[in-house]
């Protein structure tokens, strides 16, 4: 980060390569529209370049970058929600997507495809926290700092988001309901 702060373009390009996909995925927790999520990636990474000197090293680089991305994504989500012809984010989380099949979780493989579909049934808040805890592997203290909530809220929010995801994964498909 010090090199990026010093204006080293090569270091920034390496940092960008590490975070491009991750920031996009994180932004997709809030935004259904891919193009808008990509705009968030652009804004986030430009902010990282311009404010790298303000990174103090008290948190992980990823926590700092996701903090910037979160603000950008929430701003974008608010702009999208204001558009009349687009489903607001909060409602979007409640709209069930493709129905995943039943899964007996313990001891079985849950495919990424099923989980991807199930995630669409969660709220943006739940998708966000599952991403941070299960993919980014951030400690709960850093998630709390990133989201501005108490650590106990982080623990319970992850627990209940996980429960909801499991619930969605265990729903029977329409075919199974017929049989």
């Amino acid at each position: 980060m010090a090199a990026v702060a010093g204006g080293d373009r090569g270091c920034f390009e390496r940092l960008y390569a590490l975070y491009e996909r991750r920031v996009l995925q994180y932004a997709r927790s809030f935004l259904r529209d891919r193009a808008t999520a990509e705009e968030v990636v652009i804004d986030t990474m430009l902010s990282v370049w311009e404010s790298a000197s303000r990174f103090q090293g008290t948190a992980r680089v990823s926590t700092w970058i996701f903090g910037i991305a979160r603000h950008k994504a929430l701003d974008a989500a608010r702009r999208v929600a204001r558009s009349a012809d687009i489903v607001p984010l909060d409602e979007a989380g409640a709209v069930p997507a493709a129905e995943p099949g039943p899964e007996v979780l313990a001891g079985q493989v849950v495919t990424g495809r099923l989980v991807q579909a199930a995630l669409e049934c969660l709220s943006p808040e739940q998708r966000e926290i599952l991403w941070l805890a299960f993919y980014e592997d951030l400690p709960y203290s850093e998630i709390a700092s990133l989201l501005g909530i108490p650590v106990n809220t982080v623990k319970t929010r992850v627990f209940y988001a996980k429960q909801k995801l499991q619930g969605v994964l265990m729903r029977p498909t329409p075919m199974e309901r017929v049989s």
Partner: protein, 212 residues
């Protein structure tokens, strides 16, 4: 489903820590506490298995999520180059401004300002060649000592003064004479003729002579 949900009760503290137990983000003490709890709680052991499976599914889902557009990176780098160019230009302008205000320039700038100020003051205070020098007194006037005939009526005296363009400035003296001052409004030849007329025997003036 775990017993936590079946009983609809609050989850165990250890169950809440399981995501971080699996990713190794717990402190040593927290990890020991979870280990001890798992050894005696079957519900939490089952929960751990579920979290493990779900974690695998989530990571697979995220790994296989759509990739960024091919031109996303190019878009970022292009905008970055644009901003860097603007920043360089601003930096150059700021650098020039700083150079101008460097301490080595300051004394010269101060001297220049003082010289300019001194010049301006001098220009304001010194008389300008193009302007005429004026004094408190007006242009010199010709003064005459004039003695009117005792028979001259006052109206004739006043008329004579008007004709000469003169006014009485002093008198009468012991000889009955007056000092008059000519304004210069009457042309010299006309003035001379008028004075001669006034001194003729039929005139009102006994005598007139200039005061040096």
């Amino acid at each position: 489903m775990t017993e936590h949900r079946e009983r609809n009760s609050a989850p165990h503290e250890a169950a809440l820590l399981l995501p971080w137990y699996l990713n190794g983000a717990l402190s040593e003490e927290e990890r020991r506490t979870v280990d001890l709890h798992l050894a005696e709680c079957e519900a939490c052991r089952r929960e751990l298995g579920e979290v493990q499976v779900l974690r695998g599914g989530l990571r697979e889902a995220y790994e296989h999520a759509e990739a960024p557009s091919a031109n996303l990176r190019r878009a970022v780098m292009t905008r970055l180059a644009g901003r860097a160019a603007r920043a360089t230009l601003l930096e150059r302008i700021a650098g020039s401004a700083r150079e101008l205000l460097q301490p080595k320039w300051a004394p010269s700038l101060l001297v220049l300002l003082l010289v300019a100020q001194f010049g301006a003051l001098t220009w304001l205070l010194l008389p300008h060649a193009a302007q005429p020098i004026t004094r408190g007194l007006g242009p010199a006037h010709l003064r005459l000592h004039i003695v009117f005939r005792p028979s001259a009526p006052e109206s004739s005296v006043q008329q004579a003064l008007r004709d000469l363009g003169a006014r009485i400035v002093d008198g009468p003296d012991s000889a009955g004479g007056w000092i008059i001052e000519l304004s210069g409004a009457v042309p010299a030849p006309q003035l001379a003729r008028r004075l001669r007329e006034l001194q003729e025997p039929s005139g009102n003036v006994e005598r007139v002579e200039p005061i040096p």
